[in-house]
């Protein structure tokens, strides 16, 4: 195809023709006949689409499906029990704001400080270790100092927690994530869980996002697996249910303080807006407000690692060259009739899938785990540490 059409109109026509051809409503020739001026470009795209749709796909063997179901069922009681009610004592109690006048004064003052401060703006995207990161944190400290006047410390902590999470993701992507950055994130989550954000939807969004980030993107730094687990526990789905956050009990992560992380046991039925005694707005920042943004928790000698000290960063799914793998015929080299309505059945000598391609080992068991997977595995201990169902099969299915 040389110099093909690249307009949205052509994309629409191609999509419509593909739907018609794959759905058996039209043939390729009929589609080309309907758009003779575009036929030269439509034809190869339609043909390759049709060919791809007829590419044979393997199916997961029934025994593997059953084994995985057995394993999932073993985890279901724990995983699906998160909707039980919790006592109201766990409800986050949001602070009330001060007067509109005080809030307005504070906002004007903060804006005055911030306006024209090029350093602050320039530091917005800096990460720990970057030149202006200190400026970024200092500005947070200043804004937090005025939070009691505006009556919005919860919203500020929500913003800060999101910022710490952004930083953790970026650092992890760059393989620069440190224990300090994780501890800072934990601290922000702690404060968010204490103050609440005033916006239940935003809180849920943060915790959902954080949990998914830790499950899918953020990797545990070597040597900080226990702290990584603390943060993962802090944002686990069990902590936020139906818009309610079970507060963390300490700003210090358990792995750094030697105390166990309290596991949420029940959910309060509703979000309440009753101020707690500890959240009384104050015209001046407290020492703890400032300290939480500047202090960098460091590991103490009392730290109790939750992960075995022997954890190593072994690549997951390390290929193991076994006879089974090398002798297993590839199921990709076969064709099957197009599983679409209206298409004529294939009568040619289509190659059948050899019975031997079904995996012969126990499926679903990860052979090795790296540090991150090892940490995450604590939330999936059944899946990763036990072999549910029948014992590993011997490679008898290899042809």
């Amino acid at each position: 195809m040389s110099e093909p059409h690249t307009t949205p109109e052509f994309d629409d026509i191609l999509a419509q023709c593909l739907d018609d051809v794959l759905g058996g409503r039209k043939t390729v020739a009929e589609c080309l006949g309907a758009y003779p001026a575009l036929a030269a470009d439509l034809k190869p795209a339609l043909q390759i689409g049709l060919l791809t749709a007829r590419l044979k796909s393997p199916e997961m063997s029934q025994s593997s499906v059953d084994t995985l179901e057995t394993r999932l069922r073993a985890q279901m009681p724990a995983a699906l029990s998160g909707f039980r009610s919790r006592p109201r004592s766990d409800v986050i109690q949001l602070p009330l704001g001060l007067s509109r006048m005080a809030a307005a004064i504070a906002v004007v003052f903060i804006l005055a400080l911030g306006s024209g401060a090029g350093l602050v703006a320039a530091s917005a995207d800096d990460l720990p270790g970057d030149a202006l990161y200190g400026v970024k944190r200092l500005w947070e400290t200043i804004v937090l100092a005025f939070a009691p006047l505006t009556g919005q410390p919860g919203e500020l902590w929500l913003r800060i927690a999101n910022t710490r999470l952004d930083e953790a993701e970026a650092l992890s992507d760059q393989e620069r994530l440190t224990e300090t950055a994780l501890a800072d994130l934990y601290s922000a989550i702690y404060h968010l869980s204490q103050y609440g954000g005033g916006d239940a939807t935003a809180i849920i969004a943060f915790f959902n996002r954080a949990y998914l980030a830790f499950m899918n993107r953020i990797k545990a730094p070597i040597g900080a697996e226990a702290l990584y687990q603390d943060v993962l526990d802090a944002v686990a789905p069990a902590r936020v249910q139906n818009g309610i956050v079970t507060p963390l009990t300490s700003e210090q992560p358990p792995s750094l303080s030697g105390t166990p992380l309290p596991v949420p046991t029940a959910l309060p039925p509703t979000f309440t807006h009753t101020p707690t005694p500890t959240l009384t707005p104050s015209p001046t920042p407290t020492a703890s407000d400032t300290a939480t943004l500047t202090a960098s928790p460091t590991p103490s000698a009392t730290r109790t690692p939750r992960i075995p000290a022997t954890a190593t960063r072994t690549p997951t799914y390390t290929p193991s060259p076994t006879a089974t793998l090398t002798l297993t015929p590839s199921p990709t080299l076969t064709w099957t009739p197009l599983p679409l309505p209206g298409f004529p059945p294939i009568t040619g000598a289509a190659t059948q899938v050899p019975p031997g391609f079904i995996p012969s080992r126990t499926p679903g068991i990860l052979p090795t785990l790296d540090a991150t997977e090892r940490v995450r595995a604590t939330q999936q201990s059944v899946y990763l540490t036990q072999t549910a169902g029948p014992p590993p099969a011997t490679p008898t299915e290899t042809p």
Partner: protein
């Protein structure tokens, strides 16, 4: 499973009904397995990652919000994240070989079955050489048979973007097979 039925089963699963989750699992496990398989080209790895996807889905059920979209779309998103995570952690590249660098010799007297197998191999390898987004569109649209709207939902894009991606991906595939010496039309005629 009809969408209305799926919604009811989802609600039951979220209330802690293990059987309901098992129904969702059985209804979608093969689709997820196929999707992953076509992204990693390894049956064993595909099984492992499929298990991982459903384990994560189970863990995330309590936070799942049914917005009337197919449940499988959420599973595809988890599966995509796992595939990306796998390649990121292992440092492996999806493609095992380069179709254009090592063109498959196609002779006129080649047995039709062999030609089809070679073409299938070339097509699979050509898919593996596409960009990540193009691979997603090709697998979801043509192997999984998903609608444009579902693919758009899975990938977080609008329908027009998916149509454009689809067009570019098909052009790339056609070009790669042509350069590898395959006549798609004759292969198709041999299949029909």
């Amino acid at each position: 499973m009809e969408r209305a039925d799926e919604g009811r089963v989802l609600a039951r699963a979220q209330r802690g009904d293990a059987d309901a989750f098992a129904v969702l699992y059985r209804a979608n496990v093969q689709a997820i397995y196929r999707y992953i398989y076509h992204r990693v080209n390894d049956v064993h790895l595909a099984e492992d990652l499929t298990g991982d996807v459903f384990t994560r889905a189970l863990k995330g059920m309590t936070n799942y919000r049914d917005q009337g979209k197919p449940f499988v779309a959420w599973l595809y998103r988890i599966a995509h994240a796992r595939v990306v995570d796998y390649y990121r952690m292992t440092g492996r590249r999806p493609a095992e070989s380069d179709v254009e660098a090592e063109p498959i010799p196609v002779s006129t007297d080649m047995d039709e079955g062999m030609l089809r197998r070679q073409a299938a191999k070339a097509l699979r390898e050509a898919i593996a050489k596409l960009t990540d987004e193009q691979q997603q569109v090709i697998v979801l649209r043509f192997i999984e048979g998903q609608r444009i709207e579902t693919v758009a939902d899975v990938m977080g894009k609008n329908a027009n973007a998916i149509k454009a991606l689809q067009h570019r991906a098909l052009r790339a595939l056609a070009g790669r097979l042509e350069r590898a010496g395959f006549d798609v039309e004759s292969i198709l005629s041999g299949l029909s």
